[in-house]
Symmetry: C2
Subunit: 365 residues, 2 copies
DNA sequence: CTGAAAGCGCTAACAA
DNA sequence: TTGTTAGCGCTTTCAG
């Protein structure tokens, strides 16, 4: 029973040749007799030889063909889709993914980044948790001359490529959609954490109010979490008010879904009593009882752009191009949750409930 | 501008000491004067030194503290949750994740596995695509003496640890739930691919029929895809029959969601006209208009068990314990889609629509 | 307390 | 066509 992994030397010994011959034979390079090559190939197969990429990299100072990806969580389909698309894109170029999930914890995030660098990744794609705390990690990366691309979120002052969603305009479009229908009392269910995305979307909300000449009221803005449960409690808070709002703009879709469930639960009708808008455009917002209008962000475009920016940097390590920022536009998916529908005549069948977009291809086991 | 990453030698040169002193100082070991240590630590900080774990591993034949995870897709929350839980569990033990997604492609899967082995992962957690095609990859892993744990699916004949869901009993429980209400015409929307899971669930469906003394009819079994769209077309096929079924048991939740949307779209009522059961118990099945009864599988338990099995193996590389199989039980979440409700009196408010489980903590950006 | 030598697996460069 | 040497970054000996 062998106890260590098969190495070139093992094969060399077994075949009674030098390691170099084995190396050459196995990599298909020239300079080996066909005879020897077949013998060695077969031997390698038998012994279950797998080349050690680590030592290769070490010796040749070549790339590890591994890139690090750091995301803050797996809470919805957003980062999941991104991860999938990154994996897919980079795979076609021979790269592998070292994954880290910061769980919105800046401490873990720093450890994650260090671990990636220790493992000599060729590049990093990173969606940082919050504004400030990531700076130390970012500077560490830059010091290594390790290509870095921010995705979805960025850390100001770090001069590197980034791909972001046009959160501000997305939010603004949603607001215009609401104010365009004459609504004026619009609440915002927003994120507690202070990130790039948070700020952008809130700023879009505020701009929407301003544009429509609506006074900004602090008590219309709720600092909630981002998940379904947060929707429940936010609605509870909202309902304590005597002054009901006409619409709620949610920071994201999971929050919007939770909000919808809770509203319906309380017998509040959507959109008749309150209109609802989410952000994300994932499948979640499309399958609920009252499909939710949502700002769609193209995760695939986002991920592909990030992967391609990174590839460019990795392929041109010396070239000192200025940092580029790619902004991926959003689009508003209008669904029932913001549609004025004609009053249903008694006895009339309620309107059908088609998903506004064709059902996605999401699979399961 | 430096062009290479800072190494121990760089620091040694800068400090005019030997590499060994630097090594000792940085790792906090004994045998360095406090004076020298602070000087070196500071220097390392300045130069942005990050130790090279690859060379460490190479020199010492130590662990890379990296494990490979291979999943077939990100289509729903199932593997996503698993991935998250694995990351979380292994992180606390200092391990990192090298991620590969086979996209249900056995060819890519083999490349993925090879890539992981080349990168000297300390272990692998793997949800293989299909029965047979993965065997070659599995044997390659075993040859390396690389600990392997199958998760959710397994390849028969490969003697290694595995953690699976009790798919068969889960499906059977769902069927009993239906037949217990006197239903006899129960369709199965099943997966096209022939995997471990596929077979187990179908076998549970068939067992359920048999138990209830119901004749198995081939035209009740639909070989569909696993995604929302598949639900649409499956319903279309189903509707061509003159002989309507009383219930549909779906291979998974996304399929069930697609099925529900299409049924409702066609004006078919759930559960009055057709009852519906899914499999997975993810949040997807709980947020739709008519919340769907679903067989819940505990992804966290699954992932944790897999991670722990792997940790045990990695910590005892020589110990030759027999392969263990852990079976994670399922539970049936009964929701509206299979509830006989009292006929709604005209004018009466329809029953509220509470999620059967508390809303999950799924977040968004 | 500090340093020099050897080696992990592999390959480029140079012999033979 | 084949083999030898040296070195990637680091650490474990063993000496000073």
């Amino acid at each position: 029973m062998k106890k260590h992994k098969t190495t070139l030397r093992d094969i060399a010994n077994a075949a009674n040749v030098s390691m170099m011959s084995v190396s050459r034979a196995l990599r298909g390079g020239a300079g080996v007799s066909g005879d020897l090559r077949t013998r060695i190939t077969q031997l390698a197969e038998e012994l279950g030889y797998v080349p050690n990429r680590l030592s290769y990299e070490l010796g040749q100072q070549k790339n590890t063909m591994t890139v690090g990806v750091v995301i803050p969580h797996f809470g919805n389909s957003f980062f999941t889709s991104i991860l999938q698309q990154i994996e897919s894109t980079l795979f076609t170029h021979g790269y592998r993914i070292l994954l880290a999930c910061s769980f919105n914890n800046p401490i873990k995030e720093f450890h994650d980044i260090s671990a990636l660098l220790e493992r000599q990744v060729d590049g990093i794609i990173w969606a940082p948790v919050v504004y400030d705390e990531g700076r130390r990690a970012a500077e560490l990366i830059m010091k290594q001359n390790c290509p870095l691309v921010f995705i979805d979120r960025k850390i100001p002052g770090i001069n590197t490529d980034s791909v972001v969603v046009d959160d501000r305009h997305g939010a603004l479009a949603a607001m215009r959609h609401l104010t365009g229908m004459g609504l004026r009392k619009i609440a915002y269910f927003g994120a507690r954490l202070d990130s790039y995305v948070t700020q952008e979307r809130r700023s879009g909300y505020l701009a929407g109010l301003r544009e429509a000449g609506i006074e900004v009221r602090g008590d219309w803005m709720f600092r909630t979490g981002n998940d379904m449960i947060a929707g429940q409690s936010a609605v509870a808070q909202l309902m304590e008010r005597k002054d009901p709002v006409e619409a709620i703009f949610c920071f994201n879709d999971m929050l919007a879904v939770g909000t919808e469930l809770e509203l319906l639960n309380r017998g509040i009708r959507i959109p008749e009593d309150i209109m609802l808008v989410g952000f994300g455009g994932g499948f979640e917002s499309g399958i609920v009882r009252v499909p939710i209008t949502s700002v769609h962000q193209d995760e695939n475009a986002l991920a592909t752009a990030a992967a391609e920016l990174l590839l460019t940097r990795m392929n041109n390590p010396t070239m000192k191009l200025p940092a580029v920022e790619r902004v991926i536009p959003t689009s508003l998916i209008v669904r029932e949750s913001t549609q004025r529908r004609p009053t249903v005549q008694s006895g009339e069948k309620p309107p059908a409930n088609p998903p506004a977009r064709p059902a996605s291809k999401r699979k399961s086991r």
